[in-house]
């Protein structure tokens, strides 16, 4: 049995917990942890005491500032002469603007500029994701460059005024006339001409053997259809930017998930170099895949240039729904065939989603089906129809969020037909190597996660019979599902380490922290790597003038930072070696034979030979020692290994037999995500994904008017999300087995929580009521 780390189910502080975790960190630092520098060859300076940082539940570094209300977000920077922006949105899905009446708005109190396609500066089209290595825009749709309208909600005018009230009022005075063109605003219509699509450089089609024939021949099978709607990120901070053009620099205070890529993308639109854009985002009020480059950035900067005034552009909540993309709707088919023992002979996961003409983002909902289970024959395929709508985009666990829902419900239905416990069915199809690539797993303990989750939840094994029971008017049931998310690490990571005279270190990296705790985790990784106490590490992030081009996406940023710190540390060792005096036994040793620990440079061969870092820094000419490194090749996951995180989610559901009301009083989830760097923040990350998935399962959906492509519920009053009373205490745990191929042993934890709960809840609803729910969201009308 794997060493599963218990995770306090009560939140009372447990004085022993820190010790347990610190102890495991100390072991990891010298042993199984895979430090690429020679530290694992010596039993000497191990991380201990103040130096043990990984796994320790440090409170978040920015916690007090956020609790005080002192954390400054994008719309909270002010400049003299700053004006406020308001947008006018198109009311047709496709067509041409035939007239724009702006005179009344221009004459309104406080107005300094009305910008339309008639007077906007000439701009390049933004580079969307996958169009170039640095593309960060949601689409390549031109930004206010002509009279063409491509979606319902497209900005057609910008008003700048001295106050927000004046700008908002003036925006209502603009009259726009259109000549409408035919538009595809119905998913049904788009689906008719859907084509096999592509994503991240590959076709979304995998065929192994003849899955249809195997399904037809299977001893037991299920063949199911599912629907999922569009979902909005709904970060509580609406997208905003404060812009200033000064001294040849475009200064932007943004809420970006990737400051460097945002800056490069915006620079290209304006035909300037990225060195002429200074973009920072120290605090980001939630991202979830949606805080990328949308038209408002470009419109704010263009209007600021035209008016020669600093501009604050804060989108209204409705504005976020109109111009910032959402997760695409899907229609999925999952068909499974097996022999009587539950060995999968056929796995078919196909379906249709939508995209727009000007993006390359196809919701990759079959990804978990490639990697979770072995099957003799497979057919995986995603078709995308093109719609005249707001661009769809990445949202927490793209693909896996809805794809795991459908696959894991299908497995539950198959388990029932086989009269095999759902966990046992998954265990019987656990792959020895990656089912589609054939690569070895870098580390995988899915079965341990299933078993530990079952134990902690109190799972009652079943063989084809529902275990649900009735309690008064409530029908009670339980369900489980597996969770899945891939490991990734993107190129572009870099970090700079600067040692100071007091024995501390400054870490600088252009990483983003939308609340995950990036700076806290980075400080811990740096502390462990450098052998410098956690509290003596300062971290600067969220500014494109810092090293690296990182993006907080695909749960990969921590790995990217870890690899960057490893590289910077190697450069630092060479710098330190050059400062070793001739009288020292360390003199002449190459960097590869040196390490740092406990505030000292030491010989790997003879760890007792050491020089305090503060002495080396004091001997340097500048009084600081600085080194920058770039994360190395990313082949660990692109070529060498199968690297995926998995988990198991268990839920108890209560359905009211009179009203259909659904409650979820109990959730247990166990994850196999490699090493957990900070238990306190990790718990919160996992729960965050689970809670967003709870919303996806039971309430969320963006509704489009299929006649005109307009979002009908662009508000928190009509797009429902979980509130406190909807959310139970969520019991989470993890295997905590370091992945030897990941830079810090950690595979990333930000998105896997989003995968699994929807199926676990749907399966529990079936257990409670006998009704299968295969369309999201599962609202009470589906169960009455």
């Amino acid at each position: 049995m794997t060493n599963i780390k218990p995770n306090s189910s009560s939140h009372k502080s447990d004085p022993n917990r820190r010790q347990v975790l610190a102890g495991s960190a100390a072991v990891a630092a010298i042993g199984a942890f895979g430090l690429p520098v020679g530290a694992q060859t010596t039993a000497a300076p191990a991380a201990s005491g103040a130096f043990a940082s990984l796994g320790v539940p440090h409170v978040r570094r920015d916690g007090a500032e956020k609790a005080r209300g002192g954390a400054k977000f994008a719309a909270e920077y002010s400049y003299p002469g700053m004006v406020y922006g308001a947008l006018v949105y198109s009311t047709i899905a496709r067509g041409t603007i035939t007239s724009l009446e702006t005179a009344e708005a221009e004459a309104a109190p406080g107005v300094v500029l009305v910008m339309t396609h008639e007077n906007a500066p000439r701009l390049e089209r933004p580079e969307p994701f996958y169009s170039s290595p640095t593309g960060m825009a949601g689409s390549s749709t031109p930004v206010m460059q002509d009279a063409e309208v491509l979606w319902n909600g497209q900005p057609v005018a910008v008003v700048l005024a001295s106050t927000q009230e004046e700008a908002d009022h003036a925006a209502t005075l603009i009259n726009v006339a259109y000549e409408e063109a035919d538009a595809v605003t119905s998913f049904d219509v788009a689906a008719e001409s859907a084509q096999t699509s592509f994503y991240a450089g590959r076709d979304l089609l995998i065929e192994e053997g003849d899955a249809e024939a195997a399904l037809a021949d299977a001893e037991v099978s299920v063949d199911l259809s599912f629907n999922t709607p569009a979902h909005n990120h709904n970060q509580i901070e609406p997208h905003a930017v404060t812009v200033l053009w000064k001294d040849g620099i475009l200064r932007m205070h943004d809420c970006s998930q990737g400051v460097d890529l945002s800056a490069i993308t915006i620079a290209k639109v304006f035909g300037i170099s990225s060195a002429e854009v200074h973009l920072s985002a120290e605090y980001v009020g939630g991202g979830f895949g949606g805080k990328t480059v949308w038209q408002y950035h470009i419109l704010a900067a263009a209007a600021s240039q035209l008016a020669d005034r600093p501009v604050r552009m804060s989108l209204t909540r409705e504005g976020v729904f109109r111009i910032c993309g959402a997760r695409a709707p899907t229609r999925q088919r999952v068909a499974l065939g097996s022999d009587r023992k539950g060995r999968l002979t056929s796995l078919i996961h196909t379906g249709t989603t939508m995209k727009i003409e000007n993006n390359s983002m196809t919701e990759p909902f079959f990804e978990q089906s490639e990697h979770m289970y072995r099957a003799d024959n497979m057919h995986l395929e995603i078709r995308a129809g093109t719609m005249d709508m707001l661009a769809n985009t990445f949202m927490r666990a793209p693909g896996a969020a809805t794809g795991t829902f459908t696959l894991e419900v299908a497995l539950d239905e198959l388990a029932e037909r086989l009269a095999i416990d759902p966990i046992e069915l998954r265990v019987r199809n656990e792959p020895d190597v990656n089912p589609t690539t054939g690569r070895e797993h870098s580390q995988r303990a899915s079965v341990d996660a299933y078993r530990e989750g079952a134990r902690r939840f109190g799972w009652v094994p079943r063989s084809g019979q529902r275990q649900g029971y009735r309690e008064g008017e409530w029908q009670v049931g339980t369900g489980m599902a597996a969770a899945y998310y891939p490991y990734k690490r993107f190129p572009g990571g870099a970090a700079r380490i600067t040692l100071d005279r007091e024995g501390g270190a400054l870490i600088e990296t252009a990483a983003a922290d939308m609340g995950m705790g990036t700076t806290t985790a980075t400080a811990a990784v740096a502390s462990e790597r450098l052998g410098i106490p956690y509290d003596a590490i300062e971290v600067r992030h969220g500014d494109n003038t810092l090293p690296g081009a990182l993006i907080a996406a695909a749960s990969q940023q921590t790995a990217a930072i870890g690899a960057s710190l490893t590289a910077a540390h190697e450069v630092l060792l060479a710098e330190l070696a050059s400062l070793v005096p001739a009288t020292s036994p360390l003199h002449g040793l190459p960097a590869a034979e040196l390490g740092t620990a406990e505030g000292a440079l030491y010989s790997l061969a003879d760890p007792h030979q050491r020089i305090p870092l503060i002495d080396l820094v004091a001997w340097s000419e500048s009084g600081t020692v600085s080194a920058e490194g770039q994360g190395g090749p990313i082949s660990e996951w692109t070529q060498d290994w199968s690297m995926h995180s998995t988990g198991a989610v268990f839920t108890e559901v209560r359905v009211n037999s009179v009203t259909g009301e659904i409650r979820v009083p109990h959730i247990t989830a166990i994850y196999d995500c490699g090493k957990i760097l900070n238990s306190k923040l990790a718990e919160s990350q996992f729960r965050g994904g689970i809670i967003m998935a709870l919303g996806m399962t039971l309430m969320e959906g963006a509704s489009f008017d299929e006649r005109n492509g307009r979002v009908m519920n662009p508000s928190f009053g009509s797009y429902y999300m979980p509130t406190h009373l909807d959310v139970p205490h969520i019991d989470v745990g993890w295997t905590d087995i370091p992945d030897p191929q990941a830079p810090t042993g950690a595979r990333g934890i930000g998105e896997i929580g989003m995968s699994g709960p929807a199926a676990a809840i749907s399966n529990a609803i079936y257990d409670a009521t006998g009704k299968r729910a295969r369309d999201l969201p599962i609202r009470l009308d589906a169960l009455m």
Partner: protein, 167 residues
């Protein structure tokens, strides 16, 4: 026309359209109160007016002549965090931090609401003071949305603050 914010007087704006939230943020640069939806649906703008919580995005500044407003910037004692602020940090009652000021202001207000026996939608008996429970706390905080999913930590922090941790 003056308003008191965190114990200091300010002249109210001439423009009657300005919400209390926008007045504080855009005119006085009290950015601690957040604008999440500007329609009373998220709670990020929650402040206390004479001790009672309100949604400052739904309040016109001009209506608050002579009233005393407390914002998140006004609850700490200098460098020393308010007890609930400290509990939010300890219990990881936040991620991005954008909803946090509103959650804390609601948490402070709900303690006094409970202490004076005000019932909520989940109170089972309206004739007696509500029994302290996690559901009472959750219900009273349900007007404050969190999207990162820090709900468990938030409720733990507020429960510890109101003394309901053992419930």
């Amino acid at each position: 026309m003056t308003i008191e914010i965190n114990n200091r007087p300010y002249d109210l704006p001439d423009d009657a359209r300005i919400s209390l939230l926008d007045f504080m943020r855009e005119r006085l640069e009290f950015f601690g109160s957040k604008k999440g939806c500007n329609q009373g649906a998220c709670g990020a703008c929650t402040v206390l007016v004479d001790g009672e919580r309100i949604l400052s995005c739904l309040a016109l500044a001009a209506q608050y002549d002579g009233r005393s407003v407390t914002t998140i910037e006004g609850v700490a004692n200098g460098d020393e965090l308010h007890p609930l602020q400290a509990l939010f940090v300890e219990h990881e009652g936040m991620q991005c931090g954008y909803c946090t000021p509103g959650q804390i202001m609601s948490g402070i207000a709900l303690k006094s609401e409970l202490e004076r026996g005000a019932p909520s939608n989940v109170s089972s008996d309206l004739t007696v003071a509500p029994r302290l429970s996690r559901d009472e706390i959750k219900e009273r905080l349900s007007g404050n949305l969190c999207r990162c999913g820090a709900h468990n930590g938030i409720i733990d922090a507020v429960a510890a603050y109101v003394g309901g941790e053992e419930q």
